[in-house]
């Protein structure tokens, strides 16, 4: 008979080993999926995980893309991880990302075509504020009416998508190009352009912001009372109240931080790599960041590694679409499998399987 036993202490070995094991299992299962689609599994896995960086043919294009794709993932995931530690589940980062982008672009379009050094910093503030504001909706509903922040934040993503479409078709539409949806291209508006800082590296202000966020989050979670209270509230809510933590305040703080960071990510994207407010602007970073947060063990340094890996699957996925005509959804399946395997494996961090002889109660 197989029995489950709770470990006395969570296993450190499995905590660290599981993300790697999950990646390996995802490669195997993904390979099987590709084979079932009639593609060469080895070539597909190579194309997704290795070629974007190491291939002479694609590398020069793909390598800068890595930071461009990873930075928003890391920026969003850092904020989500802080909330997740406190058992506050912001699932709607995608919505906050969109609203942040709209606020940032809104500032830029309002000033267009004026020059001025202050425009970009204003956009940064506006982007963070937009995300914060959107996250305050589930926060206030939760603290006032005890609604579920998972549902509210998730459903607000679809509201945000509608607003995005309305903006792209209406208020923010480029008046100079008749008939086409989408705003002016912010990359052509120098005061608002989130340009590459070092040519050929993909480093833009969003990458810098992600790095700063990682350092701040690390310091807060390990050295500051707020981080301590966040962990305490997640692990033992009653002990947190005993320590004087106000649950409502924590909900506002955690959702606020994650919303602001998601909003920032959206703003850096729309003013740089994305370029303009378009209907199809949202590309799922807000959801993928959930995987990044878990794969990185909610740890800021782990999130950097996980963000780079998931960023890689984005680029590799595009490459595989191009080269092997893999369906676009297959890369989402791939990312989903990664989370699935990780959560399944994590079971053995806290439990161990035991074979026992005979029946027991």
């Amino acid at each position: 008979m197989i029995r489950l036993e709770k470990r006395k202490e969570p296993s450190t070995f499995w905590r660290i080993a599981n993300p790697f094991l999950a990646v390996a299992l995802t490669m195997v299962a993904g390979g099987i999926m590709f084979a079932a689609l009639g593609k060469d599994p080895i070539a597909a896995i190579r194309l997704i995980f290795f070629d974007p960086i190491f291939s002479a043919q694609f590398g020069s294009y793909s390598r800068p893309q890595l930071l461009i794709k990873s930075a928003p993932l890391i920026l969003i995931a850092i904020g989500l991880a802080i909330g997740f530690k406190a058992n506050i589940w912001n699932i709607g980062a995608e919505g906050q990302y969109i609203i942040g982008a709209l606020f940032g672009a809104g500032v830029a379009l309002a000033f267009f075509p004026a020059p001025g050094w202050y425009i970009f910093p204003l956009m940064v503030l506006a982007g963070a504020f937009g995300g914060f504001l959107w996250a305050m909706i589930p926060a206030i509903l939760k603290t006032r009416f005890n609604t579920n922040e998972i549902l509210v934040s998730l459903l607000l993503v679809y509201v945000a998508e509608r607003i995005l479409a309305a903006m792209a078709l209406g208020l923010m539409r480029n008046p100079d190009v008749a008939g086409f949806p989408g705003s002016r291209d912010l990359r052509r508006y120098e005061a608002a352009h989130n340009a590459e800082l070092i040519a050929g590296t993909g480093i833009h202000w969003g990458v810098v912001a992600a790095l700063v966020a990682v350092i701040f989050a690390y310091a807060m979670m390990t050295r500051h009372m707020l981080g301590y209270h966040i962990k305490l509230a997640g692990q033992a809510p009653r002990a947190a109240r005993f320590a004087g933590v106000s649950p409502a305040r924590l909900v506002v703080v955690c959702l606020g931080i994650s919303g602001a960071l998601a909003g920032l990510a959206g703003m850096f994207e729309v003013s740089g790599p994305g370029g303009q407010v378009r209907i199809e602007f949202a590309s799922g970073y807000g959801f993928t960041a959930i995987i990044v947060a878990f794969l990185g063990r909610l740890n800021p340094l782990g999130i950097v590694l996980a963000g780079l890996l998931l960023g890689l699957t984005y680029i590799g996925g595009e490459l595989a679409q191009m080269m092997l005509q893999l369906p676009g959804a297959s890369i989402q399946v791939f990312q989903g499998m990664l989370l699935f395997f990780l959560l399944a494996l994590d079971f053995q961090t806290n439990y161990r399987l035991r074979l026992t002889k005979g029946a027991r109660i």
Binding site: H224, L232, A236, A239, A243, G244
Partner: protein, 508 residues
Amino acid sequence: MRQPLLRLDGLTKAYPGVLANDDISFEIGTGQMHALLGENGAGKSTLVKMIYGLVKPDRGTMTLRGADYAPAQPSEARRNGVAMVFQHFSLFDALDVAENVALGMENPPPLRDLARRIREVSTAYGLPLDPNRLVGDLSAGERQRVEIVRCLLQEPKLLIMDEPTSVLTPQEVEVLFRTLRQLAQEGTAILYISHKLDEIRALCDEATILRGGRKVATCDPREKSARELAELMVGQVLTPPERPAKPKGAALLQVTNLSLTSNNPFGTSLKNISFTLHAGEVLGIAGVAGNGQDELLLVLSGEVPTGADQVQLKGTPIGHLGPNARRKRGLVAAPEERLGHAAAPDMSLTENALLSGAQRKRLARSGFINWNATDRFAREIIAKFDVRTPGPNVLARALSGGNLQKFVIGREIELAPDVIVVNQPTWGVDAAAASFIRQALLDMANRGAGVVVISQDLDELLELADSFAALNEGRMTPVRPAKGLSVDEIGLMMGGAHDMTPAHGVNA
């Protein structure tokens, strides 16, 4: 000499890293009341689990009525006439008494017959029960009756009772003892587990004492003093806490007309509670579990705020303040539940030292934690309160209950407060650690602090308290001097009228 009912021969059971039972042999006679005594961790639970078929011994044999007895599971034990009443009830609140009883039986008869049998048996043994009442509406004592009646319906030859009186008022205990004596007279052997020595001396005719997994002695408890038994249990000479007489100090903590509606459906609302605590005074608050103890602690610790004037510390209204503001002003608390309330299970002792120590020990400056100072504070608690642990980096949940309790109480005492409120300070703690914690609380009072001890352990309260009050359904009795109070009076204060008189019949 009566013929032995159950003989244990060299029972041994090892768990990784600990020998829970080491070569234990003794006999229980038919109709005998046999006590099993020992501190926490002495191996009592493991031993009875082997008898009840929950755990298989590594070595050793059991003989029941002359035949080999090696139950593989509890149902086999029950078929052989061995029944057990656990310390923690396994009852469903939403089902009625008869349904609950049926759930615990192998082949329950139709509910109507069962209800009739429950009435018969429960009345015959002086434990009247209405089979149609919902268990959720019953008091702790009545719930225990359900468990006992469930066992009695199977006509056991051996009834194992695990600390049955820990949830009962003195009057309820009397009723239970009458039932047990009647059972013994009819030939049912009773294995009675407890660490309340007076009870055992009143009830049992033989006692087996375990210490560290080994049998230390089998003796007649009526021939030993409670003190001798305790010393056999802990293996050392115990000194009762001492305290010099002292005059009453200034008023420290004043609670005035405190009422609080519990927002938890199973909680107890506090009703109009008033008392004053003076410097150097230990106020003992008694009561059966679930009569408002938890709620009172939350209100005093600041986790649940009230009107500002309802709680005053040294004349300043603090009822509206949260836990940290109260700590800063000199009021600290230690809740009953160690894991999850007083301490975070998955955090290290160092991190747990920060939990309530941050303010008074200045462990954080403008929010940034001084981990070195926190670590020193944790080590200080560990050293001063004899917390047995490899070091402050160990997770709280890895500590035994008694050690964690020493850490939690030690942490609050080290904060040198003016007033400390503790709930069940020695619950589940072994005798040596318990007397240590009690002494530490008395030392605090001697230094001029005010101490509020909420406890269900009357012996503990009588040992510690200068003044005494009891909680019953959220109301508190007036505070009386503890000196000269008899156990009967205390029982009445605790609300002994919990429908426990056997004459209180059930309408058929």
